[in-house]
Structures are given as C-alpha cells and as structure tokens.
Symmetry: C2
Subunit: 253 residues, 2 copies
Amino acid sequence: MQGEIIDKNSVIPIYYQLFKYFENQIRSGQLQPGDTLPTKLEIAARFDISRMTVRHAIGELMSAGMVYTQKGKGTFVASPRLDSVVFNLNNFYDEIRQKGMKRHAELLEARIIKADEKLARRLGIDVNTRCLYFRIVITADGEPLAYETKYTVYSKRSPILESELKDPSLSTLAAAHSDTIPSSSKKVLMVSNATEEEAKVLGISPDTPVFLLIQTIYNAESKIIAWGKSLYRGDRYKLTTYEGWNIEDIKNS
Amino acid sequence: MQGEIIDKNSVIPIYYQLFKYFENQIRSGQLQPGDTLPTKLEIAARFDISRMTVRHAIGELMSAGMVYTQKGKGTFVASPRLDSVVFNLNNFYDEIRQKGMKRHAELLEARIIKADEKLARRLGIDVNTRCLYFRIVITADGEPLAYETKYTVYSKRSPILESELKDPSLSTLAAAHSDTIPSSSKKVLMVSNATEEEAKVLGISPDTPVFLLIQTIYNAESKIIAWGKSLYRGDRYKLTTYEGWNIEDIKNS
DNA sequence: CAGTGGTCTAGACCACTAT
DNA sequence: TAGTGGTCTAGACCACTGA
C-alpha cells in the first residue's frame, strides 16, 4: 500500500515524493485548509522513513505556503491568501507570446547625450555626464503595443550594438554600459493618458488610457545607473494573476 | 573569532544565525553575484557545526533566491532578477496607511437580488439565483479613492451585517455567504477611463484614467462564488515594487 | 581521483501544548 | 506526563565535476 506512494528505490528523492503526495492531497481538496496532517512520527512510521526526511518534505510545503506548523500541536493545511494580489509584469510580454504573435522591437532614436538639468536629477548624476539615450517601440504583428524611453550612464564607452538596444531589459543595458553592475531596482506602475506624441507612436487616439511604468536601476552602492519609462497600450494589455491551491483547474475554465 | 558570528548557546538556532550571516554578506555587497560561498565542509569546520546544519542554512538562502548550487562545483551568490516585476496590490491600501491617512468605507447600496442573464453568466450560475449585491466607496480623509462593486451567491441566507459589507475582501465575503469555502481566485488588472457615474462617485472628471481590477473567487470545485469590480483613482494610486539584494538602502533614498 | 553538493538515517535533546 | 514539532549531530552513501 505505502509502496504505491513512496518508492524508496526511485531516483526521485523520498522527501520530494512525499512533498508531491501532500501537495496533490491539498490541491485536489482531499486535504482542506485547517485540516491536520499526520504527525511526523506517524508519517515516518507509515512509510518507514526517517523523521528528518519527513521534516524535509514538510519544510518544502511550508516554503510553498501550503501548510504551517504549531509547536506542540501539529501541522495544518494553510488557507490560501486570496486577498493579497501579486502581479507579474512579465505577463505583458508572455501574453504576446501566448497568442502566438511575433514581438518586434523597432529603434526610433539612439544617441549619446550630455545630461541636462532634469536628467541629471533623475539619474542622480552631475550635469553634462555622458548618457546613452534611446527610444524604442515594441510591436506585435505590426501593431504598436509599447513605447519605451531609456537612459543609462555611459561610463564604459563600450561600443553600442543596435541589436543590444532593441530588446534588452533596462538592467542588462545598465550592466553593459555602466561601470558598476546593477544590484537593485525600483519600479512604479501608474495609469496615465497618452500624450499626443505618445499616442501617435502607439497608433492610438490621444487621451487613451495607458499603463505607465517607471523603472530605476541601482548599483550596489545604491547609486542610480539607469532610468526608463515604458508605456503599454491600455486597450491591449492586462495583468492577470491566479492564487490558491487549485489554480490549474481555473485557468482552464 | 567564529564566536562573534555563531553563538552555539544562543536561543536563536544555529542555522538561522548562519543564514543571517550570509544574507548580510550578500545584502551588504561583501559577497557579489557570482561569488562562491565556502564549501559546506569548510563552513562546518570553521564554525564547528554539523554539515546538515550548514545545509539547512544554505537551504534557506536558496529558498530566498539569494544563492544557487551546482552539484560537484559549489554554492554561488545569485543575481537578482531585476527584469521580472512583481506588484503587490496590498500596496493600494498600504499606501494610504503609510501616509497616516484614515481609510473609511461607505456603503452606497446593498441588496439581495435575483441574478439576471448577465450576472448569471458572470457567476456561472442559473438565472434568478439569489445573490448579494453591493457597492462601496473607499475614502481617505474624506476624499474618494476607490469604488467597488461586488456580487456573491447568497446561499446561506445568513444575516448580513453592515460592518461586514464595508471593508472585507471579496474572499471573506464569499466565505460568509456562499455555502462552499473560497479556494482560489483570479484577478485581472486593466486601465480604463471612468464612466460618468463612476467619475461622479470618485469625484473626478470623466475620462480620467483609473485602475480597473476584476476579481473572481472560486471554490474547491472551481465554481465561481463571487465576482467583484474595483476602480482605483489613477491620480491617487500607484503600485511600487523593489527588487534586489540591497533594497533597504534604496527605499530610504 | 578528490572534492563538491544531495540525500538519508537513528538518535539525541529541547520547547511547547494539552490533559 | 505524553505527544508534538524544532534543532542538531556524526556518519553514511550517492551523483556530479574537473583535473
């Protein structure tokens, strides 16, 4: 009987088999939030494995947020946090890929500039510091979807490849052209109306709402090394998120 | 020397002290992405602790995404993923609290209704099923900030408290009035322009951009048990996120 | 082949909870 | 006091890497 669940001779670690076993129990609803898991001694005895191995499996479940423990009492199935919402911005581009559309980045402008007052403030640098500045528009199947403006300090003076300007994330760009490596980032997501210029680039009517994302990249000394502004068409983009223990069923419904 | 780092007689577990030690090393930049950590045997010997305890500490670092291991090679400091962006919606309300403003929820309308065609489709239920419907507006210091419309199936027919309608998340509401418990949720964040009615409630001019959040709550059988629509004023709300190993420094800059 | 990380064990002791 | 989870150990064996 227990052989059907745990195969001690498998190449798959025992703790992982055990983890998957309980994960399935929870995802399928056979174990409901609030239910108690068997005690570690019970599990260890039932499958004839070490208590430490059981602990390892339960530790994984805890890391996944699916169970919690109380000293002296037991291990319990956790309730999913359905009110804390986490959005993943990769979503923006995953969506394009999912729809089988081809993403394409077009370079509108690329220059080495000397920072003016405003840019110097944004990047926390001195006026006249050399910066790399460029603008791209991202299209899918010929339709403009996003419009990005990026600045990064240009201290290395290493050559700039057009291919490099087209696709990369702000942090990889900062890595290439700043003399220190990116360490942290701050991002702010807002809603806005497109300006006339932006609307023209995106091929939408002015005053159409858009997502506005401001990115700042810092190095290990917490100095700003890159700054970027991205606009995403509000009529084409949305952020979707799923939470809970039986997510897969929902995605297919 | 090692006594300054690890106190074996402390109430704080050794593995946790070790975890914090390396976490600090990474956050402070003394260990940079790509650097190798000492081998487990070295660490175990240096602090005179068991290899398993060292593993435990490193396991925590891995769970935190700060290091990764390669069989036969060693343990390495990971590079933070600065391009995958995760936004936490609690942000919306945390922000209010942070500014020291008082959040207040005002009930505009609350009724038991029979589902019409449209609602029945949204909730995946039969027409005429009894539902709880209500609208609230959330204000901070008297200023409207968000406007929420919620529906949940009303199968329990348990009494409805006004206090209950005012603040709670959609999932707690579904838990109170549906006959099955919430298990998963789907949320979609979009940008939109406020309609005339919405603009009036929010005290903004029409065509002001807003965040639009659609929430759906499912039970363990993947049936919809609640649906909600929330509008957040685009001129008052933003979502901010930080990523990387030295985040704290940035937040204060 | 030596060195690394990965898994597993059997048993020890502790702190906490409930009775 | 018995039962729970939490920590720690010393040592075993494995798979993988690189010289």
